[in-house]
């Protein structure tokens, strides 16, 4: 059994989807964090990137396992627990691997080493050669390795037993649709029997009575009159760590105080690192008898499936994240579906909702959105009516769908893409290196370099940093150019006037059936504009209702003049000139 087999048919990576150029615009970092909440922003996105695929079989395998997980809550819970166990298990496994020398220290060694140390101390006082040997001997970290080996092996054995027991109990007797999950259950059963896990658990309980570990220790530094260090003595080895505050700390925190100073960070670089090893060797030497006894008992407890168990990490992370995401959608009443794969259209989503909002805010208005194969959508409508959200939703659906996740939609199908490409309106560059137009041109050049006929473009209000006539013309050229190459695209814009030109160009290309105009709807009411957040197929409207948006922020002629008059500025609110301004007659 290998964890990769849960993520990819036969455990082998097939295909991919490059979403790196769209990650920021489509807010994929935030979406990835929503899926994989235990990871940092960058880590979550990187993890998702590694799983993206355009291979249909891979997508179907993941959908099948996710379906089983949603039907078997106990297995999902086990996987959540296992994730935590595996993280710790990895540390322990590394700890055991890195300290194998600790296996070689015998009880006889311990006795001989004590004698050697006494002789060496004497030699040090007699010759430089003796001092050198002492340095060399101090660099021998066998006892540190013995301490760590025993510590990690004890923890590893306990975690392994817990993990196998959990997997076995949650898969036993269950009927999964997924062959991969069935194989996982069989493997857990075999490990449980072979490694006598029940006996191991009992043996560990017995050992815990004898040994409770080491959490702290103290060393006396002996000084001469000139404050030179002249000796070191092992003062104590403790099970409990020292408390943080020292005697200089202000009283009243309620925390127990100990020692003179509060706890400081131990230097983790340079000599500090080497000194750690030296100290730990001395601690190991101090408790060497107990350690060798414990180690011998531990190595008799088998953990034969440990390496395979560790390979489950990525699969667990993906499936627990994706299942929790789907469960969240379901519990909030959002529609949920496993998208099917098609070559007939670029995508077709019915009653689709923006994923993040469906998980966290009020449920959004569902929308239908279809983009024909190699076609283009012109999306227009009032400001702040939800066009950008719709565009982001389409991009995120492809991202989630090509991860193998379920989608917040009644029905969904899509043709897997190889690249998601986005061009959003640029603001001023942070370093002032280039103009807004310059930035958009650079970006467009970059996207063209990466484009293939299996890519998809999302444009959000591009080319607004030039005159409307020129900007609109460039948008027409862009969409026609992409349609000519068979690359699908979705353009959100306020250049409503380009629709006739666009139709003309697509007609000339013989692709008029591939062009669609969608409008985000709204309605005029007595209280002003009411957003419906619903798309409909129609030619672009004559207005973007910008006044309604700016008025909501208090940017109207009346409000501005009144506010400034109130503050004592000479605005002459009653002057007839303002009427001319209001009527646009200036």
């Amino acid at each position: 059994m290998n964890g990769n087999e849960l993520l990819r048919p036969g455990g082998e990576k097939r295909g991919g989807l490059d979403a790196s150029l769209a990650a920021e615009d489509l807010e994929l970092t935030r979406l990835s964090q929503l899926l994989f909440p235990g990871l940092g922003a960058g880590e979550a996105l990187e993890f998702a990137f590694g799983l993206l695929t355009d291979d249909g079989e891979t997508i179907r395998l993941r959908q099948e396992i996710l379906g089983d997980l949603l039907d078997h809550p106990a297995l999902r819970e086990t996987m959540e627990k296992l994730r935590g166990i595996l993280e710790e298990l990895e540390t322990c496994s590394r700890g055991v691997r890195d300290n194998l020398t600790g296996m070689k220290v015998s009880r006889l060694d311990a006795a001989v080493d004590g004698l050697k140390k006494a002789v060496l101390k004497l030699e040090k006082n007699l010759s430089q050669q003796g001092a050198d040997i002492l340095e060399e001997n101090a660099a021998d970290n066998r006892y540190a390795q013995l301490l760590r080996f025993t510590h990690f092996r004890r923890r590893l054995t306990a975690l392994y037993a817990e993990a196998i027991g959990l997997l076995r109990s949650s898969t036993r007797g269950e009927k999964f649709a997924s062959a991969s999950l069935r194989a996982l259950g069989e493997w857990a059963e075999a490990c449980y029997e072979k490694d006598r896990v029940a006996e191991t658990e009992k043996a560990l309980r017995d050992l815990d009575v004898e040994w409770k570990g080491v959490s702290a220790f103290a060393v006396d530094v002996c000084l001469d009159a000139r404050r030179n260090v002249v000796g070191l003595e092992m003062a104590e080895v403790r099970q409990m760590p020292y408390a943080r505050p020292g005697m200089l700390e202000a009283a009243g925190s309620g925390e127990e105080r100990s020692g003179v100073t509060s706890l400081l960070q131990f230097p983790q670089t340079g000599t500090g690192t080497l000194f750690q090893e030296y100290l730990l060797s001395e601690v190991g030497y101090e408790v060497r008898s107990k350690l060798t006894r414990l180690r011998e008992s531990l190595t008799k407890l088998p953990v034969s499936g440990i390496e395979e168990l560790l390979t489950l990490r990525d699969a667990l992370r993906f499936y627990t994240g994706a299942a929790a995401f789907a469960e969240k959608l379901r519990s909030r009443g959002a529609p949920l579906c496993a998208p099917s794969l098609t070559e007939e259209v670029t995508f077709r989503f019915r009653e689709a909702m923006l994923p993040e909002q469906s998980c966290t805010g009020a449920l959004p208005v569902p929308n239908d959105l279809t983009l024909s194969k190699g076609g283009s959508i012109l999306m227009t409508g009032p400001n702040s009516s939800g066009k950008t959200c719709c565009l982001i939703m389409a991009g995120q659906f492809l991202f989630l769908g090509q991860l193998g996740c379920l989608l917040p939609a009644k029905e969904a199908s899509f043709s897997p893409r190889d690249r998601l490409l986005t061009l959003f309106a640029a603001g001023e560059s942070e370093t002032g290196e280039d103009s807004r137009m310059g930035l958009e041109v650079q970006r467009l050049g970059l996207l063209q370099e990466h484009m293939t006929d299996r890519s998809i473009f999302f444009f959000n209000e591009p080319m607004t940093s030039t005159s409307a006539t020129e900007g609109g013309q460039i948008c027409v050229d862009l969409l026609a150019d992409l349609a000519g190459k068979g690359v699908p695209s979705l353009l959100v814009t306020h250049f409503n006037h380009i629709w006739p030109q666009l139709r003309e160009r697509f007609d000339a290309l013989g692709a008029s059936d591939k062009l669609q105009s969608l409008v985000m709807t709204s309605e005029e009411t007595e209280d002003g504009l009411r957003y419906l957040y619903k798309l409909k197929e129609a030619p672009p409207p004559p207005s973007s209702h910008a006044r309604a948006v700016v008025a909501a922020k208090g940017v109207t002629l009346e409000a501005m003049v009144e506010a400034l008059s109130r503050r004592g500025l000479d605005m002459r609110a009653g002057d007839p000139g303002w009427d001319k301004v209001r009527r646009g007659a200036v």
């Binding site: 615009d25 540390t91 060496l120 340095e135 103290a218 060393v219 530094v221 000084l223 404050r227 260090v229 000796g231 070191l232 092992m234 760590p241 020292y242 020292g246 200089l248 100990s258 020692g259 003179v260 509060s262 960070q265 230097p267 000599t271 500090g272 730990l280 400001n383 950008t388 982001i392 309106a425 603001g427 001023e428 370093t431 137009m437 310059g438 041109v441 050049g445 959000n460 607004t464 030039t466 005159s467 409307a468 460039i474 150019d481 306020h494 006037h497 207005s543 910008a546 006044r547 948006v549 922020k553 940017v555 109207t556 002629l557 003049v561 506010a563 605005m571 000139g577 007659a585 200036v586």
Partner: protein, 507 residues
Amino acid sequence: MACLLYPAGKGPAASPFPAQTIEDLQLGRLAKAMSPSDYYRLTPEELCALFTGDEEVLRHRQAVFRDVLRFPELESAMEKLLDSLDGWESRGGSRRGGADAFAVGFSLDEFTWLDGYLKKIDAAWREFDRIPVESAGFRALQGLLNELRNSKRYQDAASDFKELCPGFSAPARMRLGYNLDNELKPSRLKLLAMEPPEEGTRSKSAQKRKMMLTQRAVETDAMLLQRVSAQASQDINTFVIRETAALRGLRKELIVCLAVRKLTRSWEEAGLPACFPELRPPEEKAFRAKGLFDPLLLISDKELVVSNDAELRQGGELLILTGANQGGKTVFLLSMGLGQWLAQLGFPAPAAEAAVSPAENILTIFAPNGQRYGRKGLLAEEAGRIASAMENLTAGSMVLFNEPLTSTGPEETKAISAEVIAVCMAAGARGVWVTHVYELASHRASLEEALPWGSRLGSLRIVLEEVGGETRFTYRVERGEPKGYSHAEDALRRGGIHLSDVPAARA
């Protein structure tokens, strides 16, 4: 005690500087570039706190900065004083880094350091005293150093501290406790106890196992003892810092003076001028500059820095600037904004000659970033910024608009822009409005006629050259009517964008 940036009896004004202006004018980059070093770093907020329209304060600062530019030896004197002040500042944590990490043994002796510090004060006093400064600010500083150097407190400091720390005399045994983390690494340590020398021999039960004593263990333990002893002596340092609080007020002022020197030096090295602007009365709303340039271009290492002359008509003028994409509109806007800002810090302006009336504030509206605000709605974000600017707008404001309100239909952009311009104009604000909506400039006369008070409107345009049938940028700006074309396709071509079916389809 502050004396370099404010005359006696004056201090910082309470009014906050708009955060949006800091972002739009890229004051963070400018502040970083003029900071004397990474360590002595100025933040844009610190600089903006110096923004003032108080003529007395500005004249005081101009005199101080003139001294800075006139007497190069002041730079070294200020650096030395800053260095010694910095000693007190960083003493707060009482931990020594750097070379101390390699020291053998550990030190509880604060006196060596204190002596060194006092010597630096003495040296700074001597250095300042021999420079014939003319400004009231530097004369006050000379007076302050003189008073400090000859004060009883200064004279008595060493002996005071000697009395306060006699306790760390001769510990014979220091017990260090270590906590282990989950991977069994010593992660924290603390000083648990210090024992005096023992009298007689230890009983057998009190004896402990001796660990191997290696050279490395000796060195590392000395370093660890240094750290824990530094922690223990923190109280002493707290006392010291309190005693010297008055001196530390000078630190930022010295950094600002060094920053002015660094800024003007960078302009000199690029062959660009600097001048202290003539201060004009606020009601004149003057902004006149010859050879004005954008100092941010130097930070970006641009080889070509084109200067322009700029002038706002007396009584206030809002200039509408149009022209080709990438032709230098934003750079011109920034030149004016930064010129005004620097003048109101009392700094030299990036120009050969300048005359400036202080503005009550500088308000900016730059196009927001689609990536950052796309989902929220660019227009809504921009409208929020305009509303916020309007709350602070006064007849004395300078307003700088850079391609605002483009995130809607072209007709709506024009209509709303015209209203905002009308309000700014009627309110009497001056400034610049960069746009591709040419009608805003070409129809300005009718707006002026409708609202015949407040500021006036002017039209600026980008100058292009025709050479051999090709259009070239000059990055110059001139007064004149808009040309009506933004050369967007040229921008595409320069960016290497070729839309394959364009010619055929258009044909």
